[in-house]
């Protein structure tokens, strides 16, 4: 009997199932590949980067893709200071990953707790909390973020905080809706009947049942955040040079749009592919975590 239970490790099963469904879902597999490559570049960029992404080479300014000199080949061309576009794209992945992950962790944590409390407590507190959410949602996200960064000032750390502290509203809405549904389930009533305290019911019985919606939403929000960061940096309200970001590269490229098309084309492709990877991964995650959809292919 004990041997039987020991031979059924549930956690490994979940992991194996995840890998198995991944293999059957080309979209999920593509998403995972893209995200893995971007994360690896962010981690090990300096080791694989062919040129210095910040130090320029004034003898190699505005060179078209494929140009090479003594220092090596410029695969995707060079910019106005003779910096290699390919190396800068690798360096820029670091900011995108950092902003995407950290901001989403901040906003997800705040939003989940906010929605949890609002939906669980209900009544007047819920109405008040949701009116605050309405007020924040009424100002389109990007405009809100643009205005705040204008007031607070730009920079990588500030930007992460701003995106994290404004992005939570979406989670709050969704999680509150989920809590309202779960709150009425029999197992929650049973927990009360067993004499569990409200806080325990909220954290141990309700939270685990709404967290999968939050995870799926988080995947979508990573994409939204990466796009928001690039827009802000492009507008000059986000990360400042010499930090390399894809948005800043596009802002540089825009000034030389008449002559150096590669300066605008490649960083944009990097953003699009990254966001596409995150979106694909999110789609797969939704199907995987939602038992109603699972197995329908």
């Amino acid at each position: 009997m004990t041997a039987d239970i020991a031979s059924l490790p549930p956690r490994r099963n979940a992991l194996l199932r995840a890998i198995a469904t991944m293999l059957h879902s080309p979209v999920g597999a593509t998403g995972t590949c893209i995200v893995t490559v971007v994360v690896l570049l962010a981690l090990f960029g300096p080791q694989v980067s062919p040129h210095d992404p910040i130090k320029g080479n004034l003898r190699a300014r505005f060179e078209a893709p494929g140009y090479s000199d003594a220092s090596g080949i410029y695969r995707l061309g060079s910019d106005q200071l003779g910096r290699d576009i390919f190396s800068r794209i690798i360096a820029g992945s670091r900011v995108s990953v950092l902003v995407g992950v950290v901001s989403v962790l901040i906003s997800g944590t705040i939003g989940v707790l906010y929605g949890l409390v609002s939906g669980f407590v209900g009544g007047r507190l819920d109405s008040l909390m949701m009116r605050i959410v309405d007020g924040l949602l009424a100002v389109p996200f990007i405009i809100l973020v643009v205005a705040i960064s204008g007031v607070v000032g730009a920079g990588l750390g500030t930007l992460i905080l701003i995106l994290g502290l404004t992005g939570w509203v979406t989670y709050a809405r969704v999680i509150r809706g989920e809590v309202l549904k779960v709150r009425e389930q029999e197992y929650v009533i049973a927990a009360y009947a067993l004499g569990q305290r409200r806080l325990v019911v909220m954290l141990r019985h309700i939270l685990p049942n709404v967290i999968s919606s939050a995870i799926v939403l988080a995947a979508v929000q990573v994409g939204v955040t990466v796009l928001a960061e690039s827009s802000l940096s492009f507008l000059g309200l986000g990360v400042k040079p010499p930090t390399v970001t894809w948005g800043l590269m596009l802002s540089d490229g825009r000034q030389y749009i008449n002559s150096a098309w590669w300066m605008t084309t490649f960083p944009g492709i990097a953003i699009t592919v990254t966001v596409l990877g995150v979106v694909f991964l999110g789609d797969w995650l939704r199907d995987f975590l939602d038992p109603n959809v699972r197995g329908r292919g």
């Binding site: 605050i132 389109p140 809100l144 007031v151 596009l250 749009i257």
Partner: protein, 305 residues
């Protein structure tokens, strides 16, 4: 019905009140808004003067009441950059933003609805796969990058369209397409799934079995019912268009409120930033209010007596 419209109107007022709080506190995020406004070369005396002129030396509660009562009368203070009432400038620029957003919404709908319907009718066909791929691409692409790519193709190489400004009607084409593509991507997926759901309903089968032509079944029986979720998301997407206009207007130097906001933020023109935020939010809230009313008109199941 009237009660519903009135209760929504009340909710709208409450939301606008919340927005006024957001706008009021936003410029005070660093504590003293003077720190944001004052040019770096101002000395203590000049700063004190500016603070008194704006009433920032008063208690916070009093400042808010003054702000709100003035805002209700359409007075957001003077834009120091333009040396004119901020409200005047906002209204002037808002027209351009509305024009751009409507053109983009028109483009979005014209692409999304037919594409979504055809994708649903020919599910898993090559066309369906292609439109899925394009929709994913449309959502993942930063709108300002698409704008830059269009400039490279149509202004730099083909010399067909102006790259910036709003001096001629043709100048609207590229910004509107840039904004509209993102909307089309989101809306076409939704139209497809709403149509798929409706097409499997009994009343569609009934309509087919009584011998109606495909066109009548699709347009009169299926699409009308699929419209309800489409209208909801369309409303939300209009909010997204307003947000997107900030970035796209900057790319094309389109003289709308979005670009004005960026300019005002860069020179810390607080009156303009507050007025702009307020009007973006008001537009968004009014759109959603209109959507709620349209609901009642298109969905006979909703009755509020």
């Amino acid at each position: 019905m009237r009660a519903f419209i009135l209760s929504r109107l009340l909710q709208l007022v409450v939301t606008m009140f919340m927005v006024s709080l957001v706008v009021f506190f936003m410029v005070r995020l660093r504590g003293d808004p003077i720190l944001v406004m004052a040019p770096p070369n101002f000395d203590a005396e000049q700063i004190a003067k500016l603070r008194a002129a704006w009433g920032f030396d008063k208690p916070l509660g009093e400042q808010y009441i003054t702000f709100l009562s003035k805002a209700l009368r359409g007075d957001f203070g003077k834009s120091f950059q333009a040396n004119r009432p901020a409200m005047e400038l906002v209204i002037e620029r808002l027209g351009y933003t509305y024009l751009l957003a409507s053109a983009a919404a028109g483009i979005g709908l014209t692409i999304a609805i037919p594409l979504g319907i055809v994708s649903a009718l020919k599910r898993n066909s090559l066309l369906d796969l292609l439109s899925t791929a394009l929709a994913s691409l449309g959502t993942a692409m930063p709108s300002f990058w698409l704008g830059l790519m269009l400039i490279i193709i149509f202004s730099v190489h083909l010399r067909m369209l102006p790259a910036f400004g709003a001096l001629e009607p043709r100048a609207l084409i590229m910004p509107a397409v840039t904004l509209g593509v993102g909307m089309a991507a989101r809306l076409s997926r939704l139209t497809r799934s709403a149509m798929l759901e409706v097409l499997s309903q009994d009343y569609v089968r009934t309509a087919r079995s009584k011998g109606l032509a495909q066109k009548a079944v699709v347009l009169r029986h299926a699409l009308r019912n699929a419209l309800i979720p489409i209208v909801t998301v369309f409303g939300l997407q209009l909010g997204w268009l307003l947000g997107g206009s900030v970035v796209v207007e900057s790319v094309f130097s389109w003289p709308g409120l979005g670009r004005q906001m960026i300019d005002s933020i860069n020179v810390r023109d607080i009156a303009m930033v507050q007025a702009g935020l307020f009007f973006f939010a008001l537009s968004f809230i009014l759109i959603n209010y209109a959507i709620d009313v349209i609901y009642i008109l298109i969905d006979p199941r909703i009755r509020f007596d």
